[in-house]
């Protein structure tokens, strides 16, 4: 009893820590003043203005599009790669793992500039495509680092047993292995999304004219002051994600209930 209370308290504490600044951000999206330093009154005007700002709206589209595409592609390549890495010879494996750390370790500016130089060298026209490649590149390690521990945990014999029982490798993989490692894949996907949505420096150096994400727009605003329009945009983004989650959650619980009833 005490233990579960303690657990609850700890969870609330951590979530308060994580959400405290988000609450501030949302509250200040209703602040009349252009500065975050003081509160001058309640207003909805930033929400209206944000829709009129074409810089914010297009960069929001690019942010979401690139985040979804890059993290999905990275999740697919990364998961497949992780499975392969497990079976690599030890020496090759450790080399590949060292390579995996590099995008995590390199300061963004180094990754950004070196990728920019590469794209120029290869004569890739800079734009959405190059930015997508860059995002996939720095997302991949997060997927691999999330999936590998799950694979290590996996009991290899299960897969072999499935094969012995006549399953095709593909069937055995999707029905036996995939469900086992899915928490790792999910984690990798989430972390990749997080990295992609929040990246400024690498995006800045790998994009081309006419394409920018929300982070670039926000950092560029810093000199003149980050507009409360940004707070409004982020608050709205936050609200939509939470709403989406609630819907998914509802459906999941409904499905679960139905399953239980049929059982």
């Amino acid at each position: 009893m005490v233990k579960s209370l303690l657990k609850k308290a700890y969870t609330y504490f951590i979530f308060l820590f994580l959400y405290a600044p988000i609450i501030v951000l949302i509250v200040f999206s209703f602040n009349d003043s252009k500065s975050r330093a003081h509160w001058t009154g309640f207003t909805f005007k930033w929400y209206l203005e944000m829709f009129k700002d074409r810089q914010i709206m297009t960069s929001l589209y690019y942010t979401i599009g690139i985040a979804l595409a890059s993290s999905l592609i990275a999740t697919i390549i990364g998961t497949i790669a992780a499975i392969g890495i497990i079976y690599l010879k030890k020496s090759l494996r450790s080399i590949l793992m060292d390579l995996t750390y590099i995008p995590v370790l390199n300061p963004d500016i180094v990754t950004g500039i070196s990728l920019m130089l590469l794209f120029i060298l290869l004569k890739f026209p800079r734009g959405v495509f190059t930015m997508l490649i860059a995002h996939i590149t720095f997302n991949l390690p997060y997927v691999i680092l999330s999936v590998l521990p799950k694979l290590k945990q996996l009991d290899n014999q299960i897969y072999d047993a499935a094969l012995d029982l006549g399953a095709t490798p593909f069937y055995a993989f999707t029905k036996v292995v995939l469900p086992q490692i899915s928490p790792g894949i999910f984690t990798g996907f989430l972390l990749a999304m997080t990295m992609s949505i929040d990246d400024f420096v690498i995006s800045f150096f790998t994009t081309g004219p006419g394409v920018s994400n929300l982070a670039i727009t926000i950092y560029s605003m810093a000199r003149k002051g980050v507009s409360p329009k940004i707070n409004a945009t982020l608050s709205l983004l936050f609200a939509s994600v939470v709403l989406l989650l609630l819907i998914v959650n509802n459906r999941m619980t409904r499905d679960n209930n139905r399953k239980e009833r049929t059982v």
């Binding site: 500065s35 330093a37 130089l117 006419g210 000199r223 002051g225």
Partner: protein
């Protein structure tokens, strides 16, 4: 299996989303102008107006610092037709042959630019650039916390204000004002003068609350510190939000800065770019921009149209006498390494 299919579907969706975004808005026949500017540094309706009047499509992007913009253009990663960098960056770009000479026959409205702002050190014969906005660096202070008269950089070394001083986390600006405090040029390459500046900065460090960047205006508006080194543009904004604040250009002189419009050689549409510069210099447009941005405009006629309280505010439009001893930042080329080293030493104590 369902999972795999579903994620593939979403990927496809996301990619189509992006591609459709790229696709839209590329009216093939219209000429295009690619503009690269600071964030929130133009009235959006000016861009619309230009597109309508000349039937040219504007692709508009924003950067956060001169340095990032320069690194990108220098590497050849952006074929922009119009850039709006600051003075010392322009100097460097001129020296490295990255800019087109302007054909002033195509920019008749150049005549409206105040002659005080022509032929400056970064572009001595004024062949490459047209001033867009200008300003100074000075001290922003809170009258409730600083009771004495502020007129010298020396106040930033006064122990009375321990932990109430905000310096800029910017190599050139912070070392620059220290050199000015010592009554040297802020473009000095002399080891002896730089050494003195280093000692002064190390001595000052315990008094400094923080080395800040763009967030300085919010800090001062919120009364977090008594004194701060700021750009005049920030000062104008901060004073409007908090009437206790006052801005002064110290008597030793300061840094006079310009953001000017230039045409990089990387671009492909010089004619359209000159048309755009000329458009920016139209009185009505320049006025609209000055009003929107809130910084000081170099356009004589546009300034006349601004409300009186803005023009009489010495923060934005200082008298000539306030600017005595002020200098424009020059590109230091090789000597920049010395500045970098000093800054690292100050920051490692």
């Amino acid at each position: 299996m369902k999972f795999v299919l579903r994620s593939l579907l979403v990927t496809l969706l996301a990619i189509t989303l992006i591609i459709s975004l790229v696709g839209c808005g590329s009216d093939k026949d219209k000429p295009v102008l690619k503009v690269y500017n600071w964030g929130d540094y133009i009235d959006p309706s000016v861009l619309d107006g230009f597109e309508e009047e000349y039937g040219i499509k504007v692709i508009y992007d924003e950067f956060a610092t001169n340095e990032e913009m320069y690194a990108k253009i220098k590497a050849g990663a952006g074929d922009y037709d119009i850039l709006i960098p600051s003075d010392y960056t322009i100097k460097r770009m001129i020296d490295e042959d990255m800019l087109h000479k302007l054909d002033f026959d195509n920019i008749p409205n150049y005549k409206y630019i105040d002659s005080r702002f022509k032929d400056l050190a970064y572009d001595p014969n004024n062949e490459y650039s047209v001033p867009y906005m200008w300003g100074t660096v000075g001290i922003l202070y809170n009258k409730k916390m600083v009771k004495e008269e502020v007129n010298s950089w020396k106040i930033l070394w006064d122990k009375k204000y321990e932990k109430q001083i905000l310096m800029l986390d910017s190599i050139r600006d912070s070392i620059g004002i220290t050199l000015k405090m010592l009554e040297y040029s802020l473009n000095t390459k002399s080891d002896k003068e730089l050494d003195e500046a280093k000692e002064a900065l190390i001595k000052q460090k315990p008094l400094v609350l923080a080395y800040v960047g763009d967030e300085v205006k919010d800090k001062m508006i919120g009364g977090e510190a008594a004194l701060a080194v700021v750009w005049s543009g920030d000062a104008i904004f901060a004073k409007r939000e908090n009437p206790d604040l006052e801005y002064v250009i110290p008597k030793e002189g300061s840094n006079l800065w310009f953001d000017s419009v230039v045409i990089p050689k990387a671009g492909k549409n010089k004619k359209e770019a000159e048309l755009f510069i000329n458009y920016l210099c139209e009185t009505e447009v320049a006025y609209q921009n000055a009003d929107y941005i809130g910084y000081a405009s170099p356009h004589i006629e546009a300034v006349k149209m601004l409300p009186d309280e803005l023009i009489t505010d010495k923060t934005a439009y200082p008298d000539d006498s306030d600017l005595v001893g002020s200098e424009v930042l020059e590109d230091l080329a090789g000597s920049l390494v010395k500045y970098d080293r000093i800054w690292t030493e100050v920051k490692s104590r």
